[in-house]
Amino acid sequence: MGTFHQNKSPLHGITVVVDTTGPEVFIGRCDDEDERGIVLDDVDVHRDGDGGRSKQQYLERAARLGVWKKHARLFIPRERVASVRRLGEI
């Protein structure tokens, strides 16, 4: 058993990868998602090439171990979102 939250998007509580139309990719726990955008908790952000790592290299490491949060909560507007995937599926 555990706590569950009604009236949230199906991705609520799931760690997701939000790729953007720009160089950033975000990983965080989805709180909610609607036509305006997506709200993430405990979020890490990576810019393509930061630390010599591409988005793909960053995602591969994150998929193995998880991410260190840089932001407690972020809203990403829908127009910046290129894709949303579960980290657990990478």
Binding site: M1, G2, T3, F4, G13, L65, G66, L87, G88
Partner: protein, 162 residues
């Protein structure tokens, strides 16, 4: 802020009832982690139903496997704060997540299941992943010593043994 102890109690018991040792203080964690011999599994328990609701049943199923870790313990994230921080301190390169499961062999971390590998999966899938780790690293559990019924003689047929 920690949840009510009343709310958390059944989530603790879901693990303690299957023999998982709860580590409530940093000293408990140190005692568990400083035993370097054999296989051990450390669970970071959590209130969140989105993932922990499947982690605990998955652990229960996995621990029915014929190969399983010699020692299993848990800390409760968001509840036993000092113990959880102490446990995470043993894995400084791994981002904190809860629930999560660390598997150690002779004191070395050989497998880690972060929260995102539990979310959205069912107990059988979690158990299957853990069983794969157990099969690779654990020896078969010693069978329980047979208990001889009163009046049974030595060398009696198996039917006399419960």
């Amino acid at each position: 802020m920690p949840y009510s102890p009343m709310l958390v109690k059944p989530m603790r018991e879901e693990l303690t009832q299957i023999g998982v040792q709860e580590l409530l203080t940093p000293a408990d964690v140190d005692a568990f982690m400083n035993e370097k011999t054999g296989t051990a599994m450390l669970v970071v328990n959590s209130v969140c139903g989105c993932a922990a609701g499947m982690a605990r049943p998955g652990i229960r199923l996995a621990l029915q496997h014929e190969r399983r870790p010699q020692r299993v313990a848990s800390v409760f994230a968001g509840q036993d704060l000092a113990a959880t921080a102490q446990a995470r301190g043993y894995f400084p390169d791994i981002p904190p997540s809860s629930p999560s499961i660390a598997f150690l062999k002779d004191g070395e971390l050989v497998y880690f299941m972060p929260r995102h590998r539990i979310e959205g999966r069912d107990a059988q899938m979690v158990a299957r992943d853990l069983a794969t780790v157990f099969e690779e690293h654990c020896a078969p559990a010693a069978p329980a010593a047979p208990e001889v019924t009163a009046g049974a003689e030595a060398g009696a047929p198996a039917a006399a043994v419960r």
